[in-house]
């Protein structure tokens, strides 16, 4: 029993090494196939990371949905007390928090933005109105928040109430659409892998037609004939997917610098991250499975044409 298993194992290993040897014997063609698979797989992997990075940032921004209440500056006599207004607002159950940003604080914040320092220091006087940042209760929908902003805007002390999140929603809808596109692309790439492997297997069969014919004649089983093609297909997919994973991470690494700098401009932290090994393993596994199945179907199709009639 154990012996039989060892014989079985050694025969499979033998075929595996033969397949590797065969790939090695045609380095250019093998490299082309492997690279085609790698590039095709790297593309959706990179896009997926970009899209999920964007989604994270957007949901972070959406979570921070705040209403900015710019108060009338108020003349000397009837000065508005922003803190008192804030206290009053906090009594509203749909308002969770109110933060007061004085014109001075606002100016300092503005001056901290890259490139703004010179402009701010050139101002003769502080043009900023007092600001109340209203944080709505969590769970308030965008529509509800919008009507709250309208209501607050009608208050006498309020000059204008700004709540502009529509664009954010539009953007995240677009990002989600792009995400779907990436998923569709991944499926297409899968189909592409199947076609590439099927094509190389077909080529392999025609290159080895004489060998297959004689093996068939002397009593080789279908499994025996099929095995080297299955291994070659799976092996090319394994190498292609592993290379694709590496390639995706190299591209993400190259992008992360510029993207980080870009995000900093918008006060955001945007991490592209990398395709982690467990995801990499899943991609490799699925690709190998596709290659194996594609090879199997292609060889079986060939057998079907060979069958005695």
């Amino acid at each position: 029993m154990k012996d039989r298993f060892l014989v079985y194992l050694s025969r499979h290993l033998q075929v595996l090494f033969d397949s590797l040897g065969r790939l090695w014997k045609t380095p250019f063609a093998s490299a082309m196939t492997i690279l085609v698979i790698a590039v095709a797989l790297a593309l959706p992997m990179v896009l997926h990371k970009v899209v999920s990075g964007l989604q994270e940032v957007l949901s972070d921004w959406e979570g921070r949905s705040e209403i900015s209440l710019f108060l009338h500056p108020g003349s000397e006599g009837n000065a508005v007390d922003p803190v008192a207004v804030g206290q009053q607002l906090l009594e509203n159950p749909v308002i969770e928090d109110v933060r007061y940003v004085s014109p001075e604080e606002g100016l300092t914040e503005l001056a901290n933005l890259p490139g703004m320092e010179a402009a701010v220091s050139a101002l003769p006087e502080n043009p900023l109105p007092p600001l109340l940042v209203v944080v709505p209760a969590t769970g308030l929908s965008v529509d509800e928040t919008e009507s709250l902003a309208e209501e607050l805007g009608r208050m006498d002390v309020v000059d204008s109430a700004i709540f502009d999140q529509r664009w954010l929603h539009r953007l995240s809808a677009i990002v989600e659409l792009v995400g779907r596109g990436v998923a569709a692309l991944a499926v297409l790439v899968g189909v592409g892998v199947v076609l590439v492997i099927s094509n190389t297997v077909r080529l392999g069969i025609s290159n080895r037609a004489a060998e297959i014919e004689i093996i068939d004649q002397v009593g080789g089983t279908r499994a025996f004939i099929r095995r080297p093609f299955l291994y070659t297909g799976a092996l090319q997919c394994f190498l292609g997917a592993a290379t694709g994973w590496l390639l995706a991470n190299v591209v993400l690494g190259l992008l992360s610098g510029p993207v980080g700098r870009l995000a900093a401009l918008y006060h955001g932290t945007f991490h592209l991250g990398w395709v982690d090994p467990s995801t990499g393993c899943i991609v490799v596994g699925v690709t190998v499975l596709l290659g194996w199945s594609a090879a199997r179907v292609t060889v079986d199709q060939y057998f079907w044409n060979l069958r005695p009639r």
Binding site: I214, I215, Q217, V218, G219
Partner: protein, 225 residues
Amino acid sequence: MIRFSQVWKRYPNGHEALKNVSFELPRGSFTFLTGHSGAGKSTLLKLVTLVEVASRGQVLVEGRNLARLRGNRIATHRQTIGSVFQDHKLLADRTVEDNVALPLVVAGYEHREIRRRVRAALDKVGLLSRARVNPITLSGGEQQRVGIARAVVGRPKILLADEPTGNLDPALADEIMDLFLQFNQVDITVLIATHDLRHLERIRSQVLALEQGQLVLGGEAQPVA
């Protein structure tokens, strides 16, 4: 043992290559299959190895009804038959030794056993010294002997040959035929398709003659010559 009972073979294009063929070759017999080109000799041999299937009638080989065989049992059936081809069908990408080893590799023999048997088979056809060369460097007669070594290396019960001497000069052809006779001594059933009537004169044997798909000599009805 090979037995055909009222076997017909019609190819998909409608051509009837064999018509109502019946005969029996007992175990250990030596038989020539003759007939003009297109008479159906190769077709008959292909029915034995199940490369083609009979359209009607029954083909029995070593007690197996071939119509019933499926999948791996077809492969196992072929492992009990050694085939020799006019064009040798040797693979140019490997040595003589590896060519001869193929039936044993396919049958899953262990490495050392394969080597032992391959050497023995090459020795029998007198080509042990050429084991490591590429078959394309051999003469036609030598290549045919490699083909025979490959056919017998798996110790088949049946040896089939389709025009094994077609490309050889008479002296070499006789040598090849003597090899077949030699293997027949060890109880292998031998069936050789040839249109070279010289062999029939030289070697006493059973003869099956086909004419346009019909058996005109050696069939069930006729007494065996």
